[in-house]
């Protein structure tokens, strides 16, 4: 039994990070994903905040799932999520004021991230608290990692650096990060660059999946065929 639950926990984690990644596969929460990933630190900041909110909202919704009327569940989810986002916003404002200035409206806008409502609806409302919490952490981690990867890629191509201004999160003096070259391809920092980066990331994921499926002599995952 414990083995089984461990296995399903690993499966959940892998699902959030890869097979059901909210950004790469479910294509949820694209608005913040596209808007803030101009640098690694922005991606990391918003990713962590989203992950916290997602884990907490999954836990709360799973705990209260027996009291939530199905007819009005979405407004109730939104109330829970909005309260949690307010908490996250106040935390960021209190302890990371520079990060708050950098991310601006996108911290409060976590409330509209459809990945959170989707997990509440699909998973948290029909599973016990522990798996729901794990699901929130896994999905949040997958989303945060994607934000970091796209942020790092756009920062590298757009301005030639990675990990610049990490002090927004870690505190201390302002850091230039790793500067590989000067200048860069400005388009990557503009909105079109976000779309291109996301498209490349999805293509890369599907390519890896297809390669692995072929290596395992299995038919390609039905998900990929549909896309």
């Amino acid at each position: 039994m414990s083995n089984n639950s461990n296995y399903s926990g690993m499966k959940q984690l892998l699902g959030g990070l890869w097979h059901e990644n909210p950004g790469l596969v479910q294509l949820l929460g694209l608005c913040p994903l596209l808007a803030v990933t101009t640098s690694f630190v922005n991606g990391l900041g918003l990713g962590l905040a989203t992950m916290l909110v997602l884990a907490a909202s999954n836990l709360l919704i799973s705990l209260t799932r027996r009291f939530i009327y199905a007819e009005i569940r979405v407004p109730l989810y939104v109330i829970i999520i909005a309260s949690l986002v307010t908490c996250a916003e106040l935390i960021v404002k209190a302890w990371f004021p520079d990060l708050d200035r950098s991310l601006g409206i996108f911290i409060p806008l976590i409330v509209t991230n459809c990945a959170i409502v989707a997990r509440a609806e699909i998973f948290a409302s029909r599973n016990p608290p522990l798996p729901a919490l794990l699901d929130g952490i896994a999905m949040g981690a997958g989303f945060a990692l994607l934000l970091c990867a796209i942020g790092a890629f756009r920062e590298l191509v757009g301005q030639g650096s990675v990990f610049a201004n990490l002090n927004l999160i870690t505190g201390g003096n302002s850091s230039a990060g790793l500067q590989f070259f000067d200048g860069g391809f400005l388009l990557m920092l503009l909105p079109p660059g976000a779309f291109f980066s996301l498209a490349l990331a999805i293509a890369l994921k599907n390519w890896i999946d297809q390669k692995r499926a072929r290596a395992a002599h299995q038919p390609v995952d039905a998900n990929i065929e549909q896309r």
Partner: protein
């Protein structure tokens, strides 16, 4: 002795893609000559760089997609993209800007959407817009036209080649010394400073209609365009649509705008209007296909060009207008399907088949 016997028509029909594309390239020759005459040899270097990178991008993508390479390279479609990019860029452009535009046009806008025949966006304009957004500094260096009485320093052949390769001017020249605002830029900044068009037109650079050099290049584009019309390579709907779509709002605003708007002639001969009407908007892949649809597509481009020039932040709006209307093409084609002979009049109600 056996003589080859031929019957009319003696002008060979335009059957294959390569022949069509060659006609378009021939039709661009007069304008290219005029461009080099007025703005120096930089255009030739841009064309070379764009051709090399378009061909390389095409070959690389065909190889990656497992398609035969040589037939696609021989159909000249990549060369037309290269030529349009070279016409769109300023005469002095560093090679990496041209290369970025060319590679984006071929690799992303053409092949990632499925290759020739499937690309929804005009590749050349997509590539141009990318570098317009990504390299604002380089894309604003427009050299002064070669006109006798306007004494501006011009770069020679070697200096132009050096600038294309390195992005550096000879030490004794600065960007300010050789570049000047295009007529459309001049008009835009003039209007922003509350000048009337008559005041703006005092500038000797403005020429008769739409800027010295520019208006002549537009004429040569028109010559090539009429040749394409005569050879039936392009149809009349799109050029007419673009020209009407631009001149109608331009005329209305000019007549009732009390000096605050440019003349229709300025819009018609200025910037890339004629190039767009005959060569860019008529791209057979990304344009609308039904006859009425082509007219609507052209009108839309013309109106958008006017709006972007007059109220937008960019001086010329051809590329944006074409890309925006490319997005509307599926809807236009759907709504303007020609009536099938013998069927009832086309209404929205009976189009849902």
């Amino acid at each position: 002795m056996l003589f080859e016997r031929r019957e009319a028509p003696f002008i060979a029909p335009q059957g294959d893609v390569a022949a069509l594309m060659r006609q378009v390239l021939y039709a661009l020759i007069p304008a290219a000559t005029a461009y080099v005459y007025f703005f120096g040899p930089g255009f030739i270097f841009n064309l070379l760089v764009a051709a090399v990178f378009c061909a390389a991008g095409e070959a690389a993508m065909l190889r990656a997609r497992g398609r035969p390479i040589s037939p696609a390279l021989k159909d000249y479609s990549a060369m037309i993209v290269a030529a349009l990019i070279a016409f769109a860029l300023p005469a002095l452009t560093p090679w990496w800007v041209t290369a970025t535009a060319s590679l984006f046009a071929i690799v992303v806008a053409k092949h990632l959407y499925g290759g020739l025949g499937y690309n929804i966006f005009n590749p050349a304009m997509a590539g141009y817009v990318v570098v317009l957004l990504a390299f604002p500094l380089e894309m604003n260096l427009w050299v002064a036209p070669h006109i006798g009485d306007i004494d501006y320093p011009h770069l020679g052949l070697m200096d132009t080649a050096w600038y294309t390769l390195s992005g550096h001017l000879p030490p004794e020249l600065s960007f300010e010394a050789i570049s000047r605002a295009t007529p459309l830029d001049t008009a835009q900044t003039g209007f922003a400073a509350m000048q009337t068009f008559e005041e703006i037109h005092q500038n000797p650079l403005m020429g008769d209609f739409a800027g010295r050099g520019w208006e002549w290049i537009a004429n040569f584009f028109a010559i090539g365009g009429f040749w394409l019309l005569y050879r039936r390579v392009i149809r009349w709907q799109i050029p007419l649509g673009v020209i009407l779509g631009l001149t109608i709002p331009a005329t209305v605003f000019y007549l009732f705008g009390v000096g605050a708007h440019a003349t229709p002639g300025f819009h018609l001969f200025g910037g890339a209007t004629i190039l767009c009407a005959f060569f860019i908007a008529t791209d057979p892949v990304s344009a609308a296909t039904s006859p009425r649809g082509r007219l609507i597509y052209g009108l839309g481009i013309g109106i958008l060009i006017y709006c972007i020039r007059r109220w937008g932040s960019y001086a010329d709006g051809v590329a944006f207008a074409v890309l925006l209307m490319n997005m509307a093409v599926p809807a236009i084609d759907y709504l303007t399907r020609p009536r099938i002979v013998g069927h009832a009049k086309n209404t929205l109600a009976n189009q849902d088949d």
